[in-house]
Symmetry: C2
Amino acid sequence: MPAQTIVPVEANLINALEDRGLRKTSARSAVTTRIETASGAFTAEQLCRDLPEVGRATVYRTIRHLVDAGALCKLPMLDGAPKYSVARNEHHHHTICSRCGAVEEFRHSTVERVMRSLEKEIDGDIVGHRMEIFITCSNCLAESNRGGSSGR
Amino acid sequence: MPAQTIVPVEANLINALEDRGLRKTSARSAVTTRIETASGAFTAEQLCRDLPEVGRATVYRTIRHLVDAGALCKLPMLDGAPKYSVARNEHHHHTICSRCGAVEEFRHSTVERVMRSLEKEIDGDIVGHRMEIFITCSNCLAESNRGGSSGR
DNA sequence: TCCTAATTGATATCAAGTATCAATAAATTG
DNA sequence: CAATTTATTGATACTTGATATCAATTAGGA
C-alpha cells in the first residue's frame, strides 16, 4: 500500500460517483473535471457543447447522478433550463445575478434561525427549504458604471 | 352610469388583464374563472386539459400575461413543469407539500428583516429574492397516520 | 353598423430531457 | 492474462413543455 495511491481530496465529484458504486469511466471523468475546472454554474446543454466527445445522454445521466449524490445543486430558473452548481457546503443558499446569471453560494445562520421560528406558524412538518437571492453582482455594477448603457 | 355596471372586486384576474390594455374575450374569461374557481396551484397542461374548448396557445399566452401582470406566481419545480398560483398578497413566499404538491402562500416579517441584514454581507445589489419551504402538509400527515403505509 | 386592430387556435416547430438498445469498456474471476 | 460478466456508452427516436406562424375570427370604438 504505497502512499502514492492515496487519491487527492480535490477530486470530489468523481469520488462522489464512486461512493455510489458507479464505475470510474473516461466519460464521467471528462464531465466531472470539466465541471470542476470551469467556473460557476452551468446548464446541461452548455456542458454538452463544451464536451462534444461525450454523448448527450451520458452528460445528462452523469449530472443526474451527481445531483442524487448531493454533489451538485439543481437550480430551477424562472425561464429556461435549470442551472447546476457544485455544492461546496452541506447546506447553503444561492445568489443569482439577474444580469449575467452568475451563481454564488452563501450561508447565513440567521436564515436557519428564521426557519426554526417559522415551524410554529406553518401548518404541517417542514422537510426542507430553498432560498435564492437575486442580485446585480459587483462585476455587472462596475460594468454599467464604466460602460454606461452598454451592459447588453 | 348605473351602479349595476360596477364590476365586483372578486373578478381579479380578468381585471388584471384589462388593466394592461388587453381585451376581455371569452377565452380569457374561461381561463381566469377556471383559475379562480379551482383550488390551489396548477400547471399549464392541467389548465389545458380542464379547458379543452380553449386552444393551448391561448392558455399559455393568458398565463404569461397574468404572470407579467403580477397576478400569478410562477413556481419552477425541481422536476417537471412549473406550477402557478394566484398571488393574493403583494410580496410573499410559498410552502410546497412535497407529498401532494399543494402550494400555500405565507408571509413573515422576519424573512424580510433577514433580507435587510444580508444586504451588508452580499457582494452586489439585492434586487429580489425567492423562498420556498418544503413541507408535509397537515392533510398528508393525517392521511399517513390514518392509512399507515398507504400514502402512495 | 362598420372598421380596424387584437385575438384565436390549428399546426408546425423548438428546446430540454429521457428511453432504447446494440456496441463497448470495466471490473472480476479463474 | 484471458475469459466472462456486468455496467456503461452514445446514436437515435421519442416525449414533454412551450413558442412561432398565420389565416380566420372577434372585440370594441367611431
